[in-house]
Symmetry: C2
Subunit: 480 residues, 2 copies
Amino acid sequence: MPNKEVLFGKESKAIDVSNWYLQLIKKAELAEYGEARGTMVIRPYAYALWENIVSSLDSEIKAAGVKNAYFPLLIPMHLLETEQEHVQGFSPHLAVVTHGGGKQLKEPLAVRPTSETIMYPYYSKWIQSWRDLPLLINQWNNVVRWEMRTVPFLRTTEFLWQEGHTAHATHAESWEEVLRALKMYERVYRDKLAIPGIAGVKSASEKFAGAENTTTLEILMPDGKALQGCTSHDLGQNFSIPFNINFIDKDGLRKNVWQTSWGFTTRSIGAIIMVHGDDRGLRLPPEVAPIQVVIVPIKGKSVETVINQTQAMAQALKKQGIRVLIDDREELSTGAKYFDWENKGVPVRLEVGVREAEGSTVTVFRRDTNTKLILHKDQIDKEVPLLLTDIQQTMLTQAEDFLKTHFFDIGDYDDFKTIMSSGRGMIRAHWCEDSACEAAIKNETKASTRCLPLDAPEEEGLCVHCQRPSTHRWIFAQSY
Amino acid sequence: MPNKEVLFGKESKAIDVSNWYLQLIKKAELAEYGEARGTMVIRPYAYALWENIVSSLDSEIKAAGVKNAYFPLLIPMHLLETEQEHVQGFSPHLAVVTHGGGKQLKEPLAVRPTSETIMYPYYSKWIQSWRDLPLLINQWNNVVRWEMRTVPFLRTTEFLWQEGHTAHATHAESWEEVLRALKMYERVYRDKLAIPGIAGVKSASEKFAGAENTTTLEILMPDGKALQGCTSHDLGQNFSIPFNINFIDKDGLRKNVWQTSWGFTTRSIGAIIMVHGDDRGLRLPPEVAPIQVVIVPIKGKSVETVINQTQAMAQALKKQGIRVLIDDREELSTGAKYFDWENKGVPVRLEVGVREAEGSTVTVFRRDTNTKLILHKDQIDKEVPLLLTDIQQTMLTQAEDFLKTHFFDIGDYDDFKTIMSSGRGMIRAHWCEDSACEAAIKNETKASTRCLPLDAPEEEGLCVHCQRPSTHRWIFAQSY
């Protein structure tokens, strides 16, 4: 009974999540290490998943009136150095081109780690009047950031992402855009990837290099650590001043624009694996699964009848817009096929043998709960879409339950330390907002501030560490 | 009457095509020069055009069973050097990363100029048995090739493209794939971009570095020069031998695979501009136009009636799946709007004034012929789709007519020289297939062999240059 086996023995998710994660990526054929240090090859199955994520997010970006464009990969160093905090933050992570066409370049070129400094000289040119605002541009591309420790999808030297860059007439408008992007990400994570998160604002020490404020969606991982799922930055006028991005306003005065930037990366695939994977392998939310339903013919004696049945079923499901595949590989046993598709996380499997071909029902396996059910064959075009919706919802609920059971409201620092030294999780606690205190907590518990939740009310309290007055409860966790 | 004006005076397409081309790109807001030498910024309007081209081509690629994936940007130098002809061809065009994370790298990394050498180590790993074949992978990405002379879209240091890379059990199968890709490109150029071309095989001196054979679609430009619109390569076993890509065949023997690679780039946007643009600006084929129909309200006295009418029309057209925009900019005159959209090449303009709002007809401008017609308002949902189809066909016919009138069957070398020193064009002539003779022709006329057309019959003849026996007539032209 290979379908009852688990893929992962010693590498169980519960025992060694890091090893489990790497083994899953290998066995589900998601990625390989690249030849250059820290890079990765995104294999077709994972790339198809990424295309579905991109498609969802791109629709939302376009619906918000943001236009896609493309800016160059290579950034002359003098541009990168225009904003001081920005260059200081990114300098240790740059890949630098020093030679082109066989000659040493007069000025080295950075491979973009992010595109603020290559885009904003054009913003300066394109924006002259209040009529040119807001300027809303996004690009889908690859970026390179030299990293010491890399993990496929979660932290790689090169990754794929989108970066939105907008310019506005007022700070109120740009802040609204920061929140719009963050809420869009939260929606995509929740409704498409079935992943809940905590949306909030970063502390000063955790914000993007060059931003006034950074917002984030923090996602709880199975080992109780938090993953930064995306970021949306309020850049204030930090770039518009050095890059001279200004406009004549309706009142006739020349003003600097207010800017935002926001990004969502292939790290989201790592989040899907981490949150939804189990000891049989990957589990994919139907909304983004490259294959939503796999039909496995069990040929037996009535080969032709079985094949006709699988094709009829596939047709019926395709008509409903479902992404379906018939696994007719000759060289694999039925058990090996079940094993393979469970490993790859296909949400629904239809098992079609002689009994199903000749009878009126079909056996269905749902990957979210690893359970079987029986459906009437002539109902599958109605029932399977409902099942997919139910699976999507169930996976979200499972992830929400995990978050709830690993989320702690803490007032006492000893409790804080106990949690961080055992099963970990997310802690909500009062903090005085002094970065020295934040550093001490991190030093003692490895937990850092993850965010101040957007909906956190102002409330009187005492800092969990130093007992000085605090006005808000922040989220703490160990992070990747 | 600004709509009667032409954008281009001294920079008429007929007088100075290079200058006309650069002015058009600027005025239609398609691109800007990048900050690093030879790079470019693809502005939103041109990027939306690229997205439509990508969407068409990607559907065809997927329908052929090819799967998308993503391989790293950075290629360790020792991999690039694995195939000798390949590295010799690309060495002069490399951008090289020598520093990462603040340190000099032990081994420099090339920014991919093309991905054969970063992909094929994985092909070697993934392909073990005949069951693993064919392996059909494509990727959409950016590549960098250091170029001496650059022109936006047509030749840039960085460009966007797709590169398909396939591996097969036999040479017959891989050759079939080379032709499948070429014909797919030919179809996209013809049916989507309304651009005819001549599909054929390159001579030995013109083929891709590392290929056995290169096929191409050669497109005639308005100045009588030829543009290589895409390429599809028969790589033979040139890479599978040094990269050890082999498999156990059905007969139990270990064999090297036969490979292909094929690419289509943002150069296609340059081809659209060159082939279809006129002295009013860009003209876009409806199939790929970001905006297919622009509706210009001419408000006059009945502002509300006019606005209601434009919205009703836009709704009716959107229901037909047409990409429509209402230009309700307050700050521009009607004439300036006409001027702008003609410049940007929108195929159809509906002019909605008080007369139209109150009457039963609407005035329509078609950009392919720069003429006006009248349509019944209640018929636009039926008539406009037909009009767009007609425009698409008319633009293809116009381009075919230009190709026909600039295509010459030549037997006499003096005639050959006369054509190449005056209006230029494509010449079909016998050639002995000796590369010394090819070089002499190029030296004397600046014309090189562009291709041997796929459908060229074997026929006895004498080389147009040396008068030695020839078996085929080749296409010659000056190239970019």
